[in-house]
């Protein structure tokens, strides 16, 4: 089912164009430095995972990249310039979109409306043309609705299209959140523990969905996940963090056998 451009995937990781690079990122809350000295690069159309025990600072890195926190030190280079500290809605328009650890949907709005809101930036939001229902306005609304239908089919939520997002099952809500991110044509998708709380079949379905997003939509994915089987299977490159510090980086194979990673996760055998 791989339809993506063959060369991109198999060529050596180094000479592929970098989508995002982080240089010694540091984030301090008062005295505590949640994240310190983080460096990594994410290549185009790559699935890059960040793993580590709870409290390692993974989500803080995410929040810095997506503009919710202003990093105390360090640079985040994306599309050629440093985006550290820019507000998150500007970054979203530049193509960086994220999901959240606990799903943040517009609960009292219907599934379709969630997908329509996400396309706000692309729509014709001129007040007057909307009021007088001009043809230009109707065309843009129709286009938005058809794109929403496409994504509803893709994440198998078509039959609950008119149900309120708050009444969906957990798995459905997860899929809707991802669809809502994808509908904005992102270049970089940040997934914050997408598999959390899913049962095994749903995790497999998620695996297929993420691969499909990378191939068909050509989006680069930055992933935080605790489900090791999913991470090892799906990611091209992994960064391991502990207490805000990086302790390893490399392909799933390298990371799996790295002694420090094993020790961090399984705890050292007490001599």
């Amino acid at each position: 089912m791989i339809t993506a451009d063959e060369t991109i995937l198999t060529s050596a990781r180094e000479n592929r164009p970098t989508m995002l690079s982080v240089h010694n990122l540091q984030m301090r809350f008062g005295g505590l430095s949640a994240v310190d000295g983080i460096n990594f690069h994410v290549k185009e159309k790559e699935i890059f995972a960040i793993i580590g025990p709870n409290g390692a600072g993974k989500t803080t890195v995410f929040n810095c990249i997506s503009g919710f926190y202003k990093p105390s030190k360090g640079e985040i280079v994306y599309g050629g310039n440093d985006i550290a500290g820019q507000p998150s809605h500007k970054l979203a328009r530049k193509g960086i979109v994220r999901t959240f650890q606990n799903v943040r949907l517009f609960r009292n709005m219907t599934v379709v409306e969630n997908l329509l809101v996400a396309q706000h930036a692309q729509l014709n939001t001129n007040l007057l043309s909307g009021l007088f229902n001009t043809s230009r306005y109707r065309v843009s609304e129709q286009a938005a609705l058809s794109r929403a239908t496409f994504w509803l089919n893709k994440v198998r939520l078509r039959d609950v299209a008119n149900r309120e997002a708050g009444n969906l099952s957990y798995g459905q809500q997860r899929r809707l959140e991802i669809a809502r991110c994808m509908i904005t044509h992102p270049k970089l998708l940040l997934l914050d523990e997408p598999a959390a709380g899913l049962n095994p079949q749903e995790t497999v379905a998620l695996d297929v969905l993420i691969r499909d997003l990378r191939e068909t939509c050509g989006v680069t994915i930055l992933l935080i996940e605790h489900d090791m089987r999913l991470v090892m299977e799906i990611s091209d490159c992994i960064l391991v963090m502990e207490y805000g510090q990086p302790i390893a980086e490399g392909t799933p194979e390298e990371v799996k056998n790295n002694p420090r990673v094993i020790q961090a996760y399984l705890g050292a055998a007490d001599e």
Binding site: R107, N108, V112, L116, L123, T125, L131, T149, N162
Partner: protein, 417 residues
């Protein structure tokens, strides 16, 4: 403790309840202060307190035996979205015809002043519904924009002789502008703090209007404001300027109720236009953005919607409609004074929006009608009017917090691509 069914516990309960009722009723209801010519005097009327105490005492005695166990946890009911009422258009048409003929029917005729005030409160509540209902921004100072609209028309009419229809758009724009002025500084605030700042803003506007004698005429306000014209005709008894009154045109001798009917129609026209415009707005991207902001501002930011723009559009459009309502109120009453825009007005408008059902236009219209006409029905026992008004607000929040007629989500038919 309640679990025991020993009689002594039940009796103890009943005695305590009776004692509390006694403390609640005897001092205030039983003993009545009054000012007679000889000064302060205390009259006693113990009938009501005693009946209350007895009712509570025996009520508590038999309560445990008849009380059925209530569910400890409220299970959220699934809100099924009804299909679009097929004959929505017919239904709306019927409502409009009813509204048009109402003033001519005897009951309608007698409540004309109440009906016109209901139109004004509908306009105000529709505006506030954008800010509170759609965008979820708690605004306790909406009366400030109501005042700005009223004074804009009053001043333009007094100093530059502008007619109502010329000044109406300016009043809306002025109120909308101050909506943005209030909107900017409060962008970062959330929930209660936003409410408090808007409350402060409302009070400041009222105090400025009251103290700025040279411009606003201070506490006396501005009088002699000209009435609106209907299709170019004056509607007062005698044409003020050189124009011709509608009644001369119709060859009818003037009765004051004709003028009130004409004013009612102008109010109805404004409300109908407002409902159509706001309904359109809520279906447009900007309307969806408001609701998204209410649901989850952080998710909005992560999807590229700028909260600043959403809040400012909500505030400015909401206050614009309050400006229109203010201008019409000034024209209807013929005079404007600062203390008709006190905090209590903002509280009443907010109650109408919440009682009607936040985010539901039809609910807000219904609530505005009931809350303004309720005092009309209570005309004979006038002093109990506000007492009932306050009680209705409390009881409604307990029995129907979602409002009289909550909004239902719109169903969208998906194209079968």
């Amino acid at each position: 403790m309640r679990g025991e069914t020993g009689m002594h516990v039940v009796v103890k309960d009943a005695v305590i309840a009776a004692l509390v009722t006694a403390l609640l009723t005897i001092p205030l209801i039983g003993l009545r202060l009054n000012v007679e010519s000889t000064g302060l005097v205390l009259r006693t009327e113990m009938f009501w307190p005693l009946t209350a105490i007895l009712v509570v005492f025996f009520g508590r005695l038999i309560l445990p035996f008849i009380r059925r166990p209530t569910l400890p946890v409220k299970i959220p009911t699934e809100k099924i979205i009804p299909k679009i009422a097929e004959y929505r258009k017919v239904w709306l048409g019927a409502l409009l015809v009813f509204a048009v003929t109402l003033p001519f029917t005897p009951p309608g005729g007698s409540m004309l002043t109440g009906l016109t005030m209901a139109m004004i409160y509908m306009l105000l509540a529709l505006g506030l519904n954008i800010v509170v209902g759609y965008a979820g921004l708690l605004d306790l100072g909406h009366a400030a924009f109501y005042a700005i609209g009223a004074y804009t028309y009053a001043l333009l009419n007094q100093y530059y002789g502008l007619s109502f229809w010329q000044a109406l758009p300016l009043a809306g724009i002025a109120a909308g502008f101050f909506g943005i002025v209030l909107g900017f500084p409060v962008l970062r605030l959330r929930g209660d703090y936003l409410a408090i700042v808007t409350l402060g803003f409302g009070e400041i506007v009222r105090l400025l209007l009251n103290n700025w004698d040279s411009l606003t005429g201070g506490p006396d306000g501005i009088t002699n404001i000209s009435k609106p014209t209907l299709f170019g005709w004056e509607i007062t008894r005698r044409a003020r300027g050189e124009g011709e009154t509608l009644w001369q045109f119709l060859g009818v001798d003037f009765v004051n109720t004709y003028q009130l009917i004409a004013l009612y129609f102008i109010g109805l026209l404004l409300v109908v236009v407002a409902v159509i415009v706001i309904d359109r707005l809520s279906k447009m991207p900007v309307g969806r953005a408001w609701e998204a902001l209410r649901e989850d501002e952080i998710a909005c930011r992560s999807l590229g919607l700028s909260p600043t723009m959403i809040k400012l559009t909500a505030f400015s459009l909401g206050s614009m409609f309050a400006g229109f309502a203010g201008a019409f109120y000034a024209a209807y009453l013929g005079s404007v004074t600062p203390d008709s825009f006190a905090f209590i007005e903002s509280a009443i408008i907010l109650s109408i929006v919440v009682l009607g059902g936040m985010g539901s236009q039809r609910g807000v219209l219904l609530a505005a009608l009931t809350l303004t006409l309720l005092p009309e029905f209570a005309r004979d026992f006038a002093e109990y009017r506000m007492l009932i008004f306050g009680l209705v607000m409390v009881l409604m929040m307990i029995w129907r917090p979602q409002g009289l007629w909550p909004a239902s989500r719109r169903r969208v038919e998906l194209p079968t691509s």
